[in-house]
Symmetry: C2
Subunit: 311 residues, 2 copies
């Protein structure tokens, strides 16, 4: 039986293998993804982002438990901070796997994308599809920090949660200004610590400045102490609220279409680059180009135009 | 007189305008970049990365002062954390500009790249070129956090500095594992604070595990208290040392060539995507594709293959 069919039937080992193939950028992974595509689109995809140190991992752990208590199956895609560099095994993943290893309703995978061509978002989209096709009700995408890749990953999610915490220095304030636009829900974790109130006030001021019209979603702020499982139940209710709003406001359809568009363009870009890479790697073409650039007899912009014209 | 010529003569207003055009992805910026390209390649490009809260901005400030004391001219490209989201004006930039506004040997610019096509690294490379052509001896690229875009930006630098600080939570430890490979020099800032020793020990253990052969560069660790200008002079000496090693080991040439290759591919990718975007935007093609994907009558992978075949 094909890998795709097994995945759709919820086979964990098949799903794990397909995810590994996606992460390894194995060419036949695409063929399997094509086959599972019609079975996707049922999961509620939740993005969780925030600086290192805000307690995202613990919060995700408690969210898993909360969703399970509501009889929902959960998939987690953890984008490991070490991944772009080491491309190696992931500590946090292994540790957290143990916690839920006896629960067949939970499926956790870390992505260690080398990201040669399409980057993190390309693989992430594939892995989300696998978990979606497996029938997971909730898929949590846990990412790190604020950056280009986070924006792209937000594009794969229905509900984006931004986690803040007190005591992380002034730079955090600057980041906040940048995350206002991506957060559907804000969480102040470690809310029992000194400075939590200040973080909340600052955030509220910024959200108020970023005022919304009547029919737009107004991002709520939840306070949690994930280590003690405090406030997580409320947060989960908030997540359900956002989903309800997405559906009733027809925002869900618009968002899904926008996400599909971006994903399609990303796939197109990745495939094109693979084709181009193959071309320029032939007959030492790229080495010759680099030599010309190094000697400054050509500039990279004109050179790129030349290469494109050739094809 | 053309913008490029003025930039090469060191005209600050011309440089500022060209940078704005690059950031805005104005098409004629490329033509100017072509013209300045032969005048680039003289600056020592230094990347500074680290999580929010480690005190990068202050450290960069003190580095500027240190390099100026050595009679070197300095350019700074600050990649603002808010940029991918807001695409707006940058606070930190304005504040820091004032500090050095009377010094013509310092040129600071923040990048607020919307990053539609080529992303942050594409614009950053352009801005580095402008400062290089202006004749800046040192160009500092200040970036935030650890992620896909940081890896790409490291590819534009000769010397990569990773800044750590005590008191930023356990997640930092995980990040460290990922940054070992990109750091030519490590800095523990706020080294007068509790926990600095632990950060240093942990880092040293990890660097030792990541052992290097005889002729490879061994990343040193510097301790600083940037707010009090402590340890910065030593760090600057370390930066000069690394440059010396790069040149004497012939690593500089290899690195520049590798960077040129990656930059060229990035430009190629950006140009290709722009061409493709133009094509699929014609006659509502992309809307039709998205509808097919939404209805699941097509999958995005097959669709991308179809589009590529058509061209």
């Amino acid at each position: 039986m094909g890998l795709a069919k097994k995945v759709i039937e919820g086979d964990i080992r098949a799903a794990a293998r397909l995810i590994r193939n996606i992460d390894d950028e194995a060419p036949d992974a695409i063929e399997e993804l094509k086959k599972i595509y019609p079975k996707t689109g049922n999961a509620h995809i939740i993005g969780i982002t925030g600086s290192p140190g805000v307690g995202k991992s613990t919060l995700v752990d408690k969210l898993i438990k909360g969703f399970r208590a509501d009889f929902k199956t959960v998939g987690v895609v953890a984008l490991d901070p070490t991944s772009p560099f080491t491309g190696g095994a992931i500590l946090g993943d292994r540790i957290r796997m143990q916690d839920h290893s006896l629960d067949k309703g939970v499926f956790i995978r870390s992505l260690a994308t080398r990201g040669c061509l399409g980057g993190l978002s390309y693989s992430t989209n594939g892995v989300i599809k696998v978990m979606d096709a497996m029938g997971k009700d909730i898929i949590i995408v846990e990412t790190v920090g604020v950056g280009q890749s986070e924006v792209e990953i937000v594009n794969s999610c229905h509900t984006s949660i931004v986690v803040l915490a007190p005591g992380l220095g002034d730079d955090v304030q600057m980041i906040k200004a940048g995350i206002l636009e991506i957060g559907d829900i804000f969480v102040i974790n470690k809310s029992d610590k000194d400075g939590a109130e200040k973080v909340e006030n600052d955030l509220r001021v910024m959200l108020d400045m970023n005022s919304k019209s009547e029919d737009e979603w107004k991002p709520p702020i939840y306070k949690t102490v994930a280590t003690m499982d405090k406030g997580v139940k409320n947060l989960i209710e908030g997540i359900y609220e956002h989903k309800k709003w997405l559906v009733s406001s027809k925002e869900m359809e618009a968002q899904i279409k926008e996400n599909l568009k971006l994903e399609f363009l990303k796939i197109l870009q990745t495939k094109l680059m693979a084709a181009i890479m193959k071309k320029v790697s032939e007959k030492g073409l790229i080495e010759k180009i680099v030599d010309d650039l190094y000697n400054k007899s050509k500039d990279p912009y004109s050179m790129a135009e030349e290469v494109i014209k050739k094809f």
